[in-house]
Symmetry: C2
Amino acid sequence: MGHRRFEVTTLGTGAALPARGRYPTSQLVNVNGSLYLIDCGEGTQQRLRSVGANFMRIGHVFISHLHGDHYLGLMGLISSMHLMGRTIELHVHGPADLKPIIDLQLRSSQTYLRYPLEFHALEPVSGRSAWTDDRVEVSLLALRHRLPCTGFVFTEKRTQRLLRKEKLYLIPQFMRDRVKHGEDLELPDGTVHPNRDLTTDPPEPRRYAYCSDTAYAPELIDHIRGVDLLYHEATFTERLARRAKETMHSTASQAAMLAHDADVGQLLLGHFSSRYKNTDELLAEASAIFSRTSVSEDGHTYPVIARSIL
Amino acid sequence: MGHRRFEVTTLGTGAALPARGRYPTSQLVNVNGSLYLIDCGEGTQQRLRSVGANFMRIGHVFISHLHGDHYLGLMGLISSMHLMGRTIELHVHGPADLKPIIDLQLRSSQTYLRYPLEFHALEPVSGRSAWTDDRVEVSLLALRHRLPCTGFVFTEKRTQRLLRKEKLYLIPQFMRDRVKHGEDLELPDGTVHPNRDLTTDPPEPRRYAYCSDTAYAPELIDHIRGVDLLYHEATFTERLARRAKETMHSTASQAAMLAHDADVGQLLLGHFSSRYKNTDELLAEASAIFSRTSVSEDGHTYPVIARSIL
């Protein structure tokens, strides 16, 4: 299937120290037209403009943790939404400590938002559901980092059952929605067609998992098993495994081991240390362990492709 | 003279809402090699990189007020200086409310800076001296804005007296510094040469004034009279004079009136509303009142040229 849009645009793929051409972390997740932002490093609003995203349509922002490269662009985004006349609610999901940071800055600038900002405090508990709407369910991952840090799993909502083309002639137009929802078809003359004769199963919901920032965390495997796309940080190569451990980041190999052990569809690496002029070494290291690996580039969009058709 | 460097790089010349090609406000002032930053909108650290500035050499940051487009880049800059191993002190001058904003964010990210950050609370009182070192004196301007807002006048330190070339042969090498400092020359044989015969007056110290954000504020005239370069905000044209008044910003005409009445050397306009696709109308409006006007562009550098040689 996959005709429903589900894609991730990596707005920034750098680590804490910005490097030329790599911005700090932010991702735009588009699920069938609904926009969700994950992390919001400094300059994210400019990055959103540069990829042509209408950021007034972003309904939710998920902040993984309070290191500056993951949230310092949030106040600017909140402020620009206000100046552009937003009236619809914005949901911000993040560590409890983020709320006083937002409130203090709104107060100090005497900004009275014209739209409701609903804050949801996140505790990093793997498997806990954080948000559900008609497009998606977002659940959490407890990452291993120097600060409390949360990963996210986006699962698209299961679609309605698919009508068998060859049986369409049997189903009156006004009954189709009910059949798609799984009801049997009872015709005026009393004939009953069981739903299973008229429909096929919809595709499995696709899943996208976001793991940044984190040390190697094999306890995540059960929670990300079989996801279609895994974004995992790969700040360093194995040559700097010790530095990775100290700073609680991952190497490209560790990201790939996790992808392999969780049997994911594809692995997308990111959060590259500014010391790497290009990503060849990081990609080579991960690909040796897990072949369906790619490296994220700033401003590129990656579709979440059903693992079953890869 | 003017062989000593004194120049202003406008890193961002946009207003609150970023527009393509115009970043929020920040300026780098270079006085004979010492770097001072005025305001620090979101993305300033990237802008500093893009103009090739070594921002570890910035010793002072002056924040005019707490609207986001003037300070939201500060935490990122402070954090990057830390990550890059800075050890020398950074002075931050700004509204008292800025300090808790910095402290809260450092605390929430568990960042313990490796360099001393000295905070200086500013009260906007025109004429008050805020900082003096061997290159420059910085004094304040009370601007008119919706929040307490401070402008800045940078006055370069007066140089030593200039030795008259035709008298150089008279002055032994080891006496030259003392003569430059104004002493008379007494030779071993008892001859005395009065200082005025050996030297000429150094050039008048140049002055640069920064006025953003502010409504038209004629009470500033006495404090900026005769400055060599005046940067003044010109958010709107006269067509939007009412909007300027409501939001406590200036029109290009008002900036030019102030420049005219204060008899400044040159006027540099900035802080343009994102509604202006180009600055032609703003420049035309101001130039009709004050001819020595130019419009600032992002990333351009403007030397402070002594008014006397214009």
